[in-house]
């Protein structure tokens, strides 16, 4: 039994009474999310183009890779290409799917599809009024150090950068 508590612009909160595979009944608080796509924009010299974005939920600016929510029915790769251009002002001639992951499966179905964007060329940055960010650049190897010392703290960004670094010799 699923009871919708609130349906907002982005999220829907429901209470669902569930029978688990072990037969136990429990009530879960679940957030329905449309999903998202993100891009690791990697230049030929090994520089990653990132953003430093204001995130009210965590109290300030954090480092991220470009990303955005899927429109209804949208191909994640189309979303990734759009967010790449809107947020950092680049287009990628090659967008390769790296992986897709559940952000926090204890309470939401949100999935983020991460792509590696290469062969970058300038496009046109276009920010929404609620997007407050600046473009920043780091060598890929330095981003791994920035993850380890706690400077880069966003989940999708850590996953995308680590996955790129781990696969790099095979690219």
């Amino acid at each position: 039994m699923k009871q919708s508590i609130y349906k907002g612009r982005v999220l829907e909160l429901s209470l669902e009474t569930v029978t688990l595979p072990n037969g136990a009944q429990t009530q879960l608080e679940l957030i329905t999310h449309p999903g998202a796509a993100a891009v690791v924009p990697l230049q030929e010299d090994g520089t990653v183009i990132m953003i430093q974005q204001y995130r009210h939920a965590v109290g300030g600016f954090i480092y991220e890779i470009p990303a955005g929510k899927l429109h209804p029915g949208e191909d994640p790769q189309v979303c990734a290409a759009r967010e790449l251009e809107e947020e950092i002002g680049y287009q990628a001639a090659e967008l390769r799917h790296l992986l897709s992951f559940f952000t926090t499966p204890g309470f939401t179905n949100e999935i983020i599809h991460i792509y590696l964007g290469t062969t970058l060329k300038p496009g046109r940055q276009h920010l929404g009024s609620d997007e407050v960010l600046q473009v920043v650049r780091f060598p890929l190897e330095q981003t791994i150090a920035l993850i380890n010392n706690g400077t880069i703290r966003d989940g999708k960004t850590i996953i995308g950068l680590q996955a790129t670094y781990l696969r790099l010799p095979k690219l």
Copy 2:
């Protein structure tokens, strides 16, 4: 201005009217979460002890590292040790903090603290009635392949395994 919409067992949903650093006003849907801790349990032979857990929000069983929510005011390392023993039945003589990350900062303050657990010895598994899981074991190197081929899809698990693999030569 912050308006609480729903306060449940785990999550609180609020609507908050925010003035962004660029002066724009916007309304955000925010989920307040207590935070969590997770452990990568690594045996001396390079085997990682994981769980395959039922997660209703994403529609089935997924591979994860042991993890659980923080109790109010709890030290994340204490939480990590507790969840390690309760979920897989091991204690770690060494728990080293790897990193802490925001799961999905667009809508929640949830932070997960990840530890590397080594020098493992058997303890006592103790599952809650709403925890449906079995213990599984993989060589660390294989987990990286399972991330790349889409078998391991949980965010904290991917981050913890990648971070362990990247740091391993320096451990």
